[in-house]
């Protein structure tokens, strides 16, 4: 089966996120003062062949652990579509 996998990588909560803060300040300056707790992460889309959805997730989790996310500073979530 072919799966489309979406990986969402975010800076770990509690760590300083200067890019998120800069965007939050810019939003406030534009009149979106109600926006808070803004964080910038990274989205990665991957097509892959796997025997099942669980197998696809397991493979992408291994990709995250080895390369896509830094285990010291980032957390990730995996979502499969199609």
């Amino acid at each position: 089966m072919k799966y489309r996998v979406h990986v969402r990588i975010m800076p770990r909560g509690g760590l300083l996120d200067p890019a998120g803060q800069a965007v939050e300040h810019a939003l406030a300056a534009l009149g979106f003062a109600e926006a808070g707790n803004v964080h910038l992460g990274r989205a990665i889309e991957i097509d892959l062949e796997a025997s099942s959805e669980a197998a696809a997730v397991a493979r992408v989790r291994a990709m995250c652990e080895r390369l896509l996310a830094n285990p010291v500073t980032e957390d990730y979530t995996i979502e499969v579509t199609a």
Partner: protein
């Protein structure tokens, strides 16, 4: 004769300055290509600065899987000397040869300027030629230099004296800590002091005609570390 190898990745910089500084202390200095699988007889391996693979994904994240890295890991595990400068430090952290990670500077801006760093420890391969507590003014050039590690890792680094360089003082009226590094960390080492990562660029201040050659201390330290063994 001491043999120093300097690894080039696509996007590395300052390899020539690093080779030249190594030759000035009497070492034989050779380039190593990132696709090589042996260290070409090097006693000391230096991973230079720059932006390997364009810093895609994260700084150092892709270089870490270059073919040469397996040989570097074996060298480090066997007690061999490995030094990461700037991007090299980022690569060593990504490879797990040093703990922690280097994140985007707290102020978001790329910082290219001198900083003052204090020599916290003089029994490493890169600090032997300095005095303990000595503050040196040395260049940095990085956008991702904010050292981050979990609290227990930071506590262990401090308890074991593995912080080699720490931002200190007030270089040129700019903030002492240029990037928001935890504990003002500018450089750390492994427990044996044989694997060292640092954000400053000693090879960029290694010629007295620039007004200071304080970075040569790093290379004199390397030479002194091997003086008995050669």
């Amino acid at each position: 004769m001491l043999r120093v190898g300097v690894v080039s990745f696509p996007g590395s910089n300052c390899e020539e300055e690093t080779l030249r500084a190594a030759r000035r202390v009497g070492a034989e200095a050779v380039g190593i290509w990132h696709r090589d699988t042996t260290l070409n007889g090097a006693d000391v391996v230096i991973l230079p600065g720059g932006f390997s693979y364009g810093d895609y994904l994260r700084a150092g994240a892709i270089a870490r899987f270059s073919p040469i890295m397996a040989a570097i890991r074996r060298h480090a595990d066997a007690g061999g000397a490995v030094i990461g400068i700037c991007n090299g430090f980022q690569i060593l952290c990504e490879a797990g040869l040093l703990p922690g990670a280097l994140m985007r500077n707290a102020g978001l801006h790329y910082q290219s300027r001198p900083v003052d760093v204090r020599i916290e420890r003089t029994d490493t391969i890169v600090t032997r030629a300095y005095r303990a507590g000595q503050v040196i003014r040395i260049p940095i050039g990085h956008g991702d230099g904010r050292y981050v590690a979990p609290p227990e890792v930071l506590a262990a680094l401090e308890a074991d004296g593995r912080v080699v360089l720490r931002y200190a003082g007030q270089a040129l009226d700019a903030p002492a800590n240029p990037n928001g590094s935890m504990h003002d960390i500018a450089g750390i080492c492994n427990p044996a002091g044989t694997v060292v990562g640092m954000m400053p660029h000693p090879e960029r201040l290694a010629d007295a005609s620039l007004g200071s050659d304080v970075g040569m201390g790093v290379f004199h330290s390397i030479a002194a570390s091997f003086a008995g063994a050669a």
